[in-house]
Symmetry: C2
Amino acid sequence: MGIRLAIVDDHPLVQAGLRQLLASSGNIMLEAVYASGEELMSGLERSAPDVLLLDIQLPDHNGDELARIIRQRYPQVRMLALTNVDTSAYVKKMIQAGCLGYLLKNVDRDTLVQAIETVYREEQFIAPTLKEELLQDMLEGKRKAKLAPSLTRREKEILQLIAKEYTSQEIADTLFLSPNTIENHRKQLFLKLDARNMAGLIKKAVDFGLLE
Amino acid sequence: MGIRLAIVDDHPLVQAGLRQLLASSGNIMLEAVYASGEELMSGLERSAPDVLLLDIQLPDHNGDELARIIRQRYPQVRMLALTNVDTSAYVKKMIQAGCLGYLLKNVDRDTLVQAIETVYREEQFIAPTLKEELLQDMLEGKRKAKLAPSLTRREKEILQLIAKEYTSQEIADTLFLSPNTIENHRKQLFLKLDARNMAGLIKKAVDFGLLE
DNA sequence: TTAAAAATGACGGAAAACCACTAATTTTTA
DNA sequence: TAAAAATTAGTGGTTTTCCGTCATTTTTAA
């Protein structure tokens, strides 16, 4: 009772490489190889694999949208993103689109097999080399934060309330202040965060890590 | 030419524990022990250490504000947060406030010494046990994303423009649509994201990972 | 191939935000 | 202690958002 695997990747070289890497793995059976999103979709109708190795740079689809569609129509298929793109934004995007794992194409045989077996068990697998990078990306906010404008205590307080969808009037009532005062602090916030309206204010506050 | 270290922590037990752990480390000289933010600030005026072990739960200050003040006044002091709080939000907050490292109080001697030496070299040190947790927290957005309302193409498009501080009129001009149409899509966005105003809309869009 | 969903457009009115000033008092910092 | 920053409050006016309701056409999915 092996793992039924399918691959979608438009590079013949990658296809061949994967075939070879998986040839000697008794537990994994390469069931199908597709070269495009279209091929994949019609192939899945006939037979859905346990695990799908998904290239995120296909000619006819971008990766995360394709992943979303597959997750919706074939929730039982465990997807494993396989790509050369190693920026954390892409990893996040694919994981959020429903991929259980993320591998780089320079993966070695053992890691590949381990990844397939891991996602087959519905567990997450992210290439070890990517993890450290992801961590740094997450803490990167700190660099932006260094450039973040310094807000006064009142400004911070009011910013939190704005983020909680309070109107100026409601903030005034909450803090027992004049609405005019709130408006002034708000103007100061716009100035410091270089925002034109509430949307920009909140967006930049989030970017600078000023919320919560 | 050793590393001059100071500690601020209000628990005598922790103070004692750190003393003991560091007693046999020839390279690190424990120069001062403070029990409160006030004590620390006056102590720093007399003599600033190379590395400061900073408890983030002091009676008279909350950690990130204290760290920010120290970073501003004594930028040469390398701060190392030491706490029992292991939620990623706290780690992020302290790192963003200028701490070079983050340790848990159950730290062993070797890790402690290594952390002090690492931040002394102005490099980042985060407790290894914390790293995995941080990673999961970062990818956690994916779980939220599963609950995220599904937006139509137009709604996504308009949401991006709202986040770019466009007014409805400007969005209408950009997309060659009637302002009324934009208002309707916007209404739909409010409904789907359960927001009352622009602030809430952007906040929730960010939370759901719907932006960029 | 029909429903359903999405995209488009409109009207009127109330509320809130946004803009540009001024200015007194308190707190913080140099 | 004097200067700077923060907090408070005001006036008046314009723009934008927010709310409810309705309706037509186009696209998508069962």
